[in-house]
Amino acid sequence: MNLRRDVFQAIADPTRRAILLLVASQSMTAGAIAANFDTARPTVSKHLQILTECELLAQQQNGREVYYHLNPQKIKEIADFIEPFRKLWDDRFNTLESIMQKYKPNK
């Protein structure tokens, strides 16, 4: 598993979560995003690169400027990431319930 491109690794960082919140309302240039942080510009660029690599952010060229916006599809994947785990247990528990409803103690 390539952790660098793992979405969960990406959102584990507080600065990257703040970036996602910033661009949630409107698409922004790297400069405008960086202006919201005390961090050095190259550090913010690195965060943007990681978020783009794991497809949480998408880039759009607008004249000379590159705008970043959220990729809603990928965001939805994170929101749903717990669902397969829930489904796994739900299936097991459904089996448990039907087995035990038919169960006859042998004493």
Binding site: I82, P84, L88, W89, L96, I99, M100
Partner: protein
């Protein structure tokens, strides 16, 4: 419709709570956890060993059609209180996952109704998130493999 099985994993924490209500008396729900042949049926795994008592231990194993071991897990039972509680460790063998601690509580709601609380504590929040993601990742892998099967049939 409300979901029968609920999973609560708060962000930044290292535990998860799974709850489920059953149309079963609590003693039958409990029994499903302590008899090896029943555990094997609903967990879908072979039960190599299951000593349902304080300081007892257990071991599960799943093999694929070719006989390769695809999953093996073991643990030790720390608390055993009939029809009420099982506290145990759970460790997947040959993986990088750290051992986890499970608190299973069996609650009687009515004569034919019971509730299970499964509280799992992980070594860290990262381990928890990785484990929760496991079925998610497996789902993606399965979809990917299916795609590969289809593509290879086209060739």
């Amino acid at each position: 419709m409300e979901l029968k099985t609920k999973v609560n994993a708060e962000e930044g924490k290292q535990d998860v709570l799974v709850t489920r209500e059953f149309d079963l008396p609590v003693d039958l729900l409990f029994r499903a956890y302590i008899e090896p042949e029943l555990v094997a049926q609903w967990m879908g795994t072979k039960v190599l060993k299951l000593e349902s008592k304080k300081h007892g231990s257990y071991q599960f194993e799943t093999v694929d059609a070719k006989g390769n071991v695809v999953f093996r897990a073991n643990g030790v039972i720390h608390e055993f209180d009939s029809n009420r509680k099982i506290t145990r460790t759970f460790e997947m063998e040959n993986t990088s996952f750290a051992v986890q601690l499970e608190f299973l509580e069996f609650e009687k709601l009515a004569n034919n109704r019971s509730k299970l609380h499964m509280h799992i504590i992980f070594k860290s929040g990262t381990y928890r998130d990785q484990l929760l993601q496991l079925p998610f990742a497996q789902g993606i892998n399965m979809a990917h493999n299916r795609l590969q099967d289809i593509i290879s049939q086209l060739n």
